[in-house]
Symmetry: none
Amino acid sequence: MHFKSNVCYNKNMPKVINHDEVRGKLLSQCLNLFSHEGYGSLTMRKIAKALNVSTGTLYHYFDSKEDLFRQLVEYITHQDLFDVEKALQGADTFSERVDALLRFFIDREDYFLNQVIIWMDYTRQQGEGTEAEPGPREALVQYEQGIIRLLGIEKEVARFILAAINGLVIQRYIDGGRTSLATQSILIRQYLLGQEEQGSL
Amino acid sequence: MHFKSNVCYNKNMPKVINHDEVRGKLLSQCLNLFSHEGYGSLTMRKIAKALNVSTGTLYHYFDSKEDLFRQLVEYITHQDLFDVEKALQGADTFSERVDALLRFFIDREDYFLNQVIIWMDYTRQQGEGTEAEPGPREALVQYEQGIIRLLGIEKEVARFILAAINGLVIQRYIDGGRTSLATQSILIRQYLLGQEEQGSL
Amino acid sequence: MHFKSNVCYNKNMPKVINHDEVRGKLLSQCLNLFSHEGYGSLTMRKIAKALNVSTGTLYHYFDSKEDLFRQLVEYITHQDLFDVEKALQGADTFSERVDALLRFFIDREDYFLNQVIIWMDYTRQQGEGTEAEPGPREALVQYEQGIIRLLGIEKEVARFILAAINGLVIQRYIDGGRTSLATQSILIRQYLLGQEEQGSL
Amino acid sequence: MHFKSNVCYNKNMPKVINHDEVRGKLLSQCLNLFSHEGYGSLTMRKIAKALNVSTGTLYHYFDSKEDLFRQLVEYITHQDLFDVEKALQGADTFSERVDALLRFFIDREDYFLNQVIIWMDYTRQQGEGTEAEPGPREALVQYEQGIIRLLGIEKEVARFILAAINGLVIQRYIDGGRTSLATQSILIRQYLLGQEEQGSL
DNA sequence: CATGAATGAGTATTCATTCAT
DNA sequence: GATGAATGAATACTCATTCAT
């Protein structure tokens, strides 16, 4: 995307590589893999092959398969923060902002589905034992607050909208796309406009 | 492939084993296992140990791990048909029927979550290649029609409600139960009652 | 060696195998392997191939490579207890008993060398951390006491004799057999007979 | 194989690096590593980390892990030649020289043990195939002749003494130091003094 | 000279599956 | 029908080694 020089000279002239940059580049290619195969079924060899590197290289950048997965979750979770805000711009009326929101999700349906699938795998992975790492939970809150800021609605309503969108995406995944996003969007739209009329926001 | 008698008579006639019955009993114990571990991470040995049988026995009743999983999906998919109808009984007014529906899902949240998780794993498993087996898709339609029959609402609205419930359950899974089912139920309730008033059903 | 029936019938007629017996049979073939290759260089695949079984079978009987090694140490350590006593029989005079002892070690030089090598690898394996498992230490004491009982000499003298024999075997290992066991035996013999004359036993 | 200058002049003349010197410095730090981990279990990365250099540097000075090990054996084998002679000085009577010898080994027990362990690993490494390189065999002969020169005893007796000391060190390794070096030294001392009295040297 | 990123064959271990009993 | 011993391909991960910088 943006230009970044890879060249630098240190005293003994070893091969110069920006570790974190490479790591990020690798992570960015992993979302689809994990989402399509599932944590348990995706092998390090498959990943290596898909990323055109050796397994050794994978382990050079990540401690383990689990570590790679965790970093992926963190990566995609943070990635969104910028994007969500974009939906805010250039929409004046409430109706326009609702449209912007729906469009945001419709345009990114695939990415959003992958994200939810990863989150579910991640949640499963942790088991009930670990309560520690927030990860996806945080991301959900981010989405929620983005919706609240955009539409100026109550937290519980925003959460409901998010759940509905989540559910739609998943339903389309399961039923092979038979659910119509266009039609369902209209329903969500009507609901939100109705809420505004009632002043119950 | 080959013919297999379901009834077996020992010389002493006491022990009659019904192949399908045993199979069903085994399947019924697998939902949690697959849902908690994921298809890729669950091993036949874990299953065998959890069901208190040997792996040999597992392979006596199922051709492969994949076959077992498919049969499980079929099993849980058909299992619901009976249950859904129960929600219909003893609810006269529209409001009561809405309550019955919400209660149905809230009471069975765990089961419903497991079911959705399995469906997602199943969908993933099949890949884009196989278009053949409907499975979960059918089940979703069943739920949809159950809701239509119960509430007398339009198909797209029923689908929306289902998606919202789906989404809620998953959101609660991901955020560790932070989303309140009670509060969200009220929103769904308000939405449905509002729809009825408008006569837009 | 001795006859042992493998046949038995349990209620469901599964394949009947004496787990421990097979395990022992496998262990008995591992001494040379570990001794010749060294713990770190010997692979499970090499072991499996040498024992004519699959790696899976190896792991059916042993938890890990380390577990296999530990059990091997225990196995060879206990194996000796019977053999040491044999050297006692049919030797009346002190001189005869000394000869019996020397002959015992000379005849079993290879086995004894392997044993010492394994013990050293085992000691190294444990690191300084674990003080727990006696293993080889016990075996050394057994040898010591066997020598004491046989020759009626003091503990420290017995220990000295054992050390000398240990050292000889290792020296022959390192120098490719250039040290003569016959000549050295005479020295040990002279030393022991000298000790007896002095009555310093 | 190819010629390699040991001296290197940078353009600014300050940094003169002697290839062999650096190599020796590296080797001198490897004895403990190989002895504690064992050839098969010690990795080039562990070595590099322990020596505070990169693996690349290691391969700059040594062709391979095996080459490094061989050079280490050669290094420690030659290192001793000087030290052994030190034990000779300032000991006039036979008794004093015996004490000097015993003290020599007792003071250097750890180093001597490491050395024997390395020799055994080296012997194992070569397998029966290679008869070529003498290495440790030579070193044993050196020790032997040093003892002969020091005490003026017969070759086979010197060899016996060496074997006993070897055996003692190893026995202490295996039994965790339970064997007393002091007590055992007295036995060796008595034996040697007895030999002298008999004039059987 | 020195570095450490990259490689891919190799390591310990696991897994779905088979089959003799 | 039921068992669990046996298999060997596959898995996560490591290692000696190379090489661009």
